[in-house]
Symmetry: D2
Subunit: 310 residues, 4 copies
């Protein structure tokens, strides 16, 4: 029996109510000033169905910094770029079992990042894009706008500058990759593109819409456009499930059971194949860097809809 | 449009034909004599539907050593044992990013194994069972027989002895766990139970039947018995997907997209929730310890049925 | 101008006075009950000259558990055993940069312990002895008695039993070595010999005398016996300096500048080549496992005699 | 019986003859073009006595790139700089048990390099100098010239440029240190100074003279100048012995037994306290980065003079 509009509205209210109870238990990302200043008392959620219906609750139209959620878009871009055939020779597809910004594994595994969603892997993916496109950032932004069906999406340049100034760990990763022969473009060029893609600002509704193609076998329900082959959508979903939540993928799969990608801006984008794309946002993070209230909201959603991939 | 018997038969033939091409490219597990002697030129596959239908191909009725597939049964037993409430305080739920028998992570993470499917985690689970049951091995065997709906399943004592004699790495893990305070029972008792559970011999058909409850929300389609709550079945499936194939989970999810558990005896048990439980078996392994032909067969099956969790 | 007896007496008084100020700042080894019960308010020191003179202060005639100091004796025995030629193929000669009982390096370096003074290395050395002598423990005890010129030295069987019961980490190391092919004898036999050698009880005077051959180019000043070639004495001294104080060798060399070996019983044996063998003992340890007051006493001794190897 | 001039000449001839047999067994450092081009068939050695005598053999007056030998000079400078008091809070004094350019330990030990002679430690030391002097490179060069009693010593700017262009691993280390809060100055400024100090060109005779103060208790025998307190000279010697030869310190102490510092340019500077400062140079390295022929020459020298610190 399909879920009615009313069902969904009730479920989203439940999600918001339960999720808001988590606010106050975590901490806002403080490693860059532009993120540390945010009001933690916010929660938004948007759900887009593959049939075109949409439901929202809370601060679903407030812009937030998507941060690592951008890694899904850059991967999608790289996989349709002229450099696509080399991507999986340069980045693995395994969960890391380590913090997202660790250099240890990179050193012991000779410069092959474990997956495209840890920083090292995303920097290699950004290198693919930087190498194959004249204006890599415009290409990324263009893809995001097309996926979200929204021309207003922009890069928060203040956040990008802030990232760059405080980004010594990412610079360390990029230089290590360069020394290991897994970075083609100039280190500074790659980092500039990397920081700017992380600083894209979007609303929950934007992000949920932008993830719809992954829920709908590659086709965009709102525009009718086929954005990627169905098999590629499946594969990206598999990477979300095994690598999308840093060193918390296993627990998230256990509790929520839905492919998802988090960002330290407090957003989590999630995909229930054949049904929904979802975005939740609340700035406070758990110790692994995933939104506390966002995780809780998705857990409630999976429970009440009885939808998970398992 | 549901798959007909004829569809399935054709698909299984395709799986067997493609899978057999992999034979000769891997190597049989050689760390214990009893496994090293096996004829590598074997392939079997069994598929059980949640509606009770079954299809088989190849050596589906030959007994093989289930090895690490047993870890799913011991986890199921521990979760219904008097020690259930403490399980997740003693074992994590994250992929390891390391070889299945590594001690490194155990040392750096103070004796908390990353998940119940690496050796360290399975030894802790066996400790739970050893501590809470008078005859732990009989309990495990009893559960396996009930799940497989078959009283003929036995422990291959020659394999068990062989494991014990050559099991110094597992003994190292168990002693390290003991020194870290995460082993309650006597080390030798736990290891004895551990080796015997790994040495259970089953056919593909047995294993596929035994995994049916995970595909059918906890109920056994053949016996009508409810063997675990639906939520627990979902959660075990999530652990299979994120932790079931050693350090190859990500690639397996990418290529196949189905929750599964492999063993170095060459078996792989897989679950397509709501549809099928599957077991493939072929002794030659890839460098991570997963059956080469078995992986290929499941990849073909997922492609041709267009069924995966993503 | 050589040091007079009076000089030495004054210096030892200074050492004792300054060293005693450290008592109360550390903690007694508590991992085995037999050691944890010791009265921490004890300090002894004995200095033996290569010319046969001796000076003592404090509790220099109280017996204590020599623990890892025994590793120097077992190394000396292995190097004169029929297995001598293979020793350096099975154990390295590099500082570990890790805790003395770590398993991490052993796993990443395929079973070759970094040096004979970490537990893994000492267990391999004990294996050499166990393999080549019918009564390995009697051989070790015999060597110690000959080096110390004292027939009263004994094994504290209560400590040995206590070590064995709580020695799961050492058992883990031994089993890992066995699985890596770097242990020939039976694991339990090697561990039994290992625990018993660690449990030898000696006084400061005994230990200082037993280290005299290392200070005197291999000859024993008290007995006139040549116990090892001069080159071997030099080489063992070099190992003491680079590997003798667990992960504190660098600081010890910086502060004290004398080859030495510590034990968690609170003893430190030290060698000033051409001059003195020294033993200090005080049960409280720093966080690396080296006697706090003992280290301080040796620092004062090196300062006031202006003798160090640098 | 002191060594005569004739003894020393004979010994140096022996050293050269034996050392030259090693040429052809190693490989020249190839990570920067300016070093890879060097003629490997060269060997030079200079010995300076604390009494002012000097002996040389082979290519002892050819300039070579001192590379990591410079780390001893920058440490000496930092320890007499206004930043001296903070040095040991920011850098440890323990051997690393790892490759000289590893990032692993830095990450796991929160940005505290193990010692001043691995790259991470030397970069922190360079930061101390960069922070406290207006012209850090001129200060280093000035100290080297004063220690070597030679105004002709220069920086090979071609090597420095080559280092900078290929120095991504060092850049990774510096950025990681910056992100961990253990780098005060601008990353690029520190790296520029670091690369230039490594590129100082000296002859064996220069280096041997420059190390004389370490052999002579801080006083320079040739100039009569006191360059550092005697205790500091001892302490630097201790660091040379425990940390001066990368991950080969233990073997070097075992075989040679003399405090020393190597560089990938093929030079090794060594100190026999109270007797000699020595420099050998031959470009081919062993797998750890230490000059093969240089190590052999020092081994022969220690044997024939019967001088070592043990």
């Amino acid at each position: 029996m399909p879920l009615t509009d009313r069902d969904l509205s009730t479920i989203l209210d439940d999600c918001a109510r339960e999720a808001r109870k988590e606010i106050g238990k975590g901490h806002v990302a403080d490693y860059i000033p532009a993120l540390a200043r945010i009001n933690p008392d916010q929660f938004g959620m948007a759900v887009c169905g593959v049939d075109g219906r949409e439901w929202v609750v809370g601060d679903s139209d407030s812009s937030f910094s998507i941060q690592s959620i951008s890694k899904v878009f850059t991967l999608a871009l790289a996989l349709q770029s002229p450099g696509a055939s080399g991507v999986w020779d340069r980045v693995g597809r395994e969960p890391s079992g380590n913090a997202f910004n660790s250099l240890v594994q990179l050193e012991s595994e000779q410069g092959l990042p474990r997956n495209p969603f840890i920083n090292a892997g995303a920097i290699v993916i950004t290198d693919v894009i930087t190498t194959h496109f004249v204006s890599p950032v415009l290409q990324i932004l263009g893809l995001v706008r097309r996926y979200a069906d929204c021309e207003d999406i922009y890069i928060d340049e203040e956040v990008a500058r802030s990232e760059e100034e405080s980004g010594h760990r990412n610079a360390a990763i990029a230089h290590l990759l360069k020394s290991q022969g897994n970075l083609v473009a100039d280190v500074d060029d790659v980092l500039a593109a990397y920081y700017r893609q992380c600083s894209i600002a979007m609303t929950c509704r934007d992000v949920a819409r932008a993830f719809l193609p992954l829920a709908a076998g590659g086709r965009h329900p709102l525009t009718g456009e086929t954005l990627m082959p169905a098999l590629r959508a499946k594969r990206i979903n598999s990477l979300l499930l095994t690598c999308g939540l840093y060193d918390g993928v296993g627990n998230f799969a256990f509790r929520v059971g839905i492919p998802a990608k988090s960002g330290v801006g407090g957003g989590i984008a999630a995909v229930i194949p054949g049904h929904f794309a979802i975005c939740v946002w609340s700035p406070e993070l758990d110790e692994l860097g995933n939104s506390l209230a966002g995780t809780r909201a998705l857990e409630i959603f999976a429970q009440e809809t009885n939808l998970s991939v398992f």
